[in-house]
Symmetry: C2
């Protein structure tokens, strides 16, 4: 029925059967930077195996972020081990591996802190009889190492849990590795966000970019301005995020080494901010207001009083050092129609350049955020329009031809974050993960100093066509392709090896409860079973 | 961040807010043929409302297919009513509707039978105080009417369950309205199939085309030839369909008025049939067998002995009057390489025309199936290649330019089934349901007699990129677009009206447990909650 596809299937299956496609790295994803797997193999005993703090560690029982992670990974290891997919000639009857000792070296292992852009995620793993060691500076590296250790464990056909003698030294290539979810175009229940955070940790993502409000709805329940969600959410009770919800998300993310960066996009994308009176610009039809509203009104003092209060709250609620301020896609038509704004433009000497008005507004908001001791991220238009920015501003590149955009942003000495090629809401038929995977962030004309200004990237899942029904299967394992590009070495780019590891990684995600979609024809030992019950 | 999409969002939301897009037909899907909804409104009382057999009905308690459906729809009505989305000016305090009486008129209401291609699905509904009536010839029409009745019930903002005084006369435009699932490229757990049958019944589909085996795997466990699945399934125990599984699917489908037509595609697409010795053609590399195998070997008598036994079993296991025999995409290269086949070609006087060999094989299989008193469906190549076919053969059109294909098939006086424009596994970004919806099966050059030979169509969900993780959200509500095209009148083709009804229909599917994906920006009163539990 499908000539081309069937031909492709035959090709891949043949390759697979021939064994050429089976990765020597098992199911590891993303691939560590340095890795030596020996054929010597050890058994793991479900009753006696322990993940424990090393006696030499600067952390100990009571460092709850690790205590919880030890327990979580114990379940993953003994509930969800993935097949390694290679024949392992064990050297005689295998010994037993008794423990994984986790050894933190920093004087402050950061047990109670939040992860930061500059947090070390470096770790080393030594698996050798009788005790494996995971060594890292702090809890963040330990969390990454625990994920890797769990991926090293596999079942043989007797379901014996095994691990090979292994040496790993690993650290991320980029320090900002994010996933953007959009909770405005469709509301996402908190549990869907938590599930995504779980899946992110399986892929070593470390930033949840929460595009929390936008034109269609305002689900964030502000303590200071409760009318924003009361009037702007799809439903004022069932389709909002309370303070408790937000805190639960932040803590769940923290426990997985994931930062939560909220985006409050202004002055455009604010149609749902109607709960705040006189905030949006009334559009005019000739002499009279048309009844519709445009972007935030930058000509009123009250706007900045409101923004100051709102961002003061946001700065407290979200502990991360950065806030994303949006600033994209401002439509000037409504501003042009409004006589108050025309007058303001004249008084300020902006002539008819509405980009100057936009810059005036954005500059004011940036100052407000700076006063709250927060750094900021903005979409690239803010840079494109020449707004004055602090040197440590992160410019989020989303437009096409990203090579030129990255070159421009870094030539101006700003930090850059890449998303243009990673709009995962956009779909096409077939294995589009390959294109996603082959993006190289350093592939632009620039000096070494410029390249260093690229701090990472984000997989964006805009919500026009996505809600709780299809989010997980749309995001995973396609976002996994982004995660390896941002974590692993530049040289890790063999599509066949990636295919072999990613198919196993996807099956592991399924065993851990994430309905990650298939890459192609095939099966998992343990298939996703759906959730509907039949009697 | 997404200029075009945001612009489109604004447009649609404005239209929606203006009320222009709200359908006068509420959430009905597919739209009945004749329909009058009055503003007079009745309440439904959860404690006392009953769905019962009418005293005049030829069916009564004990007709379990209806007894079960009454119970099922009671739950749907009181658990999952969808908003009607229109302001209803009730005429004073609304009366109560006490009952839905179901009145069957045929002397044999077919309580214990299986649905057939020629089964009547006609029904009439009269909703009027104090008792609503659903009238149909037999159980099949009653099942369709129960779905429609359940779609007429809605909640107001007080959650009072309401229904308007309504008159409906309805019957399907096409008698074969199918969904194809592919359980070979990925194995689908039985519960995923049952969930799909539920969703099909919500959309008045009446055929489950079970593409049960193909090249990648053979999950059907044959009683006569158990080695087929033992060697051909992805796993001989966990990735098979036992007789009990198949029977459960057939009965579950029957209870929803859905026929189950299995497809055993030969002579191509049979790489997984390796459990039967000497069935597949050994390919040669020059003088020697290459170790690979091609299509089924048509040159051996044993092939036909095997086929006779296999189809005897299949004919018993699957009660439907039709079997789909496939016959598509036969690759001649392996046959050409094989000396036994070359000799057979010479003996039969086929020259070098391998289409004649294919026809010889297909003809033999058709004769076998006919001897089992079954009708058959075949993919269009069998027709294209000039195989002699019984007059009632159904030709399944799947190639592009379907207008010409339909014209050719019906000009030759064969029945035609359309799938070319409805390969729902193929995806693109955006609202592709619109293109799916706008297909008109009669849009080809042909006489009225030719048009009558088009018995319907099927939405096909080939399994290269689909398994239990993404099946439901990929299929629904996109397949709903096919269901309305095949059920409703040709004139039912207003995209705005369809959008309004389909968004509500999708929210209703979610309340009934089907994770149907969103059409666009917006929300459901009751969002899908995912299935992972968090403590």
């Amino acid at each position: 029925m499908e000539r081309l596809m069937v031909a492709l299937a035959a090709l891949l299956l043949t390759l697979s059967a021939s064994g050429d496609l089976v990765s020597p790295y098992g199911s590891l994803w993303p691939l560590p930077h340095s890795l030596a797997i020996s054929p010597e193999v050890y058994r793991l005993n479900r009753v006696t195996f322990q993940i424990v703090h090393s006696p030499e560690s600067t952390a100990s029982v009571g460092c709850s972020i690790l205590d919880n992670a030890f327990r979580r990974y114990f379940y993953y290891i003994f509930g969800d081990a993935a097949g390694l997919g290679q024949t392992l000639d064990g050297t005689g009857s295998p010994d037993e591996l008794g423990q994984l000792q986790v050894l933190l070296t920093a004087s402050d292992p950061e047990c109670t802190q939040h992860p930061r852009l500059t947090s070390s995620e470096t770790y080393e793993i030594t698996v050798s009889q009788p005790t494996a060691t995971l060594k890292s500076e702090n809890v963040w590296g330990a969390l990454r190492g625990l994920e890797t250790f769990s991926q090293l464990v596999y079942e043989d056909e007797y379901m014996t849990h095994l691990i090979n003698k292994t040496e790993i030294t690993d650290a991320p290539r980029f320090s900002h590795r994010g996933v953007l979810l959009d909770t405005s175009r469709h509301y996402l229940p908190v549990k869907v966000i938590l599930e995504t955070l779980d899946a992110m940790s399986f892929n070593k993502f470390n930033v949840f970019h929460w595009h929390i409000v936008d034109d269609p709805s305002f689900p964030y329940q502000s303590i200071t301005f409760p009318e924003l969600s009361a009037q702007g959410a799809y439903h004022p009770v069932t389709h909002i995020y309370t303070l408790k919800d937000v805190q639960a998300v932040i803590e769940y993310a923290r426990e997985r080494g994931i930062r939560v960066i909220p985006e409050f996009d202004t002055p455009g994308h604010t149609q749902s901010w109607k709960g705040q009176k006189n905030l949006l610009t009334p559009c005019y039809n000739g002499e009279k207001p048309s009844g519709t509203f445009g972007p935030i009104n930058p000509a009123l003092n009250t706007t900045y009083v409101f923004m100051k209060q709102l961002f003061k709250e946001i700065s407290k609620v979200f502990p991360d050092a950065y806030i994303h301020l949006g600033g994209d896609e401002v439509n000037f038509e409504c501003w042009k129609s409004n006589p108050t704004i025309t007058e303001f433009m004249q008084n300020q000497g902006f002539g008819s350049d509405y980009r100057k008005l936009e810059s005036f507004y954005v500059q004011s908001v940036l100052d407000i955020v700076t006063a709250n001791l927060k750094g900021y991220m903005v979409w690239q238009e803010v840079f494109d329009n020449g707004v004055k920015l602090k040197p440590d501003t992160i410019i989020h590149v989303w437009k096409g031809g990203y090579q030129k955009q990255l070159a421009d942003v870094t030539a101006a000495k700003f930090h850059a974050l890449l998303s243009s090629p990673w709009y995962l809401n956009v779909i096409s038929y077939g294995q589009d993960w390959r294109k996603i995977y082959q993006v190289e962030p350093y592939n632009f004309n620039g000096t070494i100093a410029q390249k260093k200004l690229v701090i990472g990237g984000e997989a964006c899942l805009w919500g026009e066509y996505i809600d709780a029904t299809n989010l997980a299967s749309r995001l995973w394992p396609r976002a996994s392709a982004v995660s390896e590009r941002l974590w692993s070495r530049e040289e890790t780019n063999d599509l066949n090896d990636a295919y072999s590891r990613l198919t196993k990684h996807r099956c592991r995600m399924i065993r851990r409860g994430i309905p990650a979609e298939p890459l192609f024809v095939g099966y998992c030992d343990y298939e996703y079973q759906g959730c509907k019950e039949f009697n």
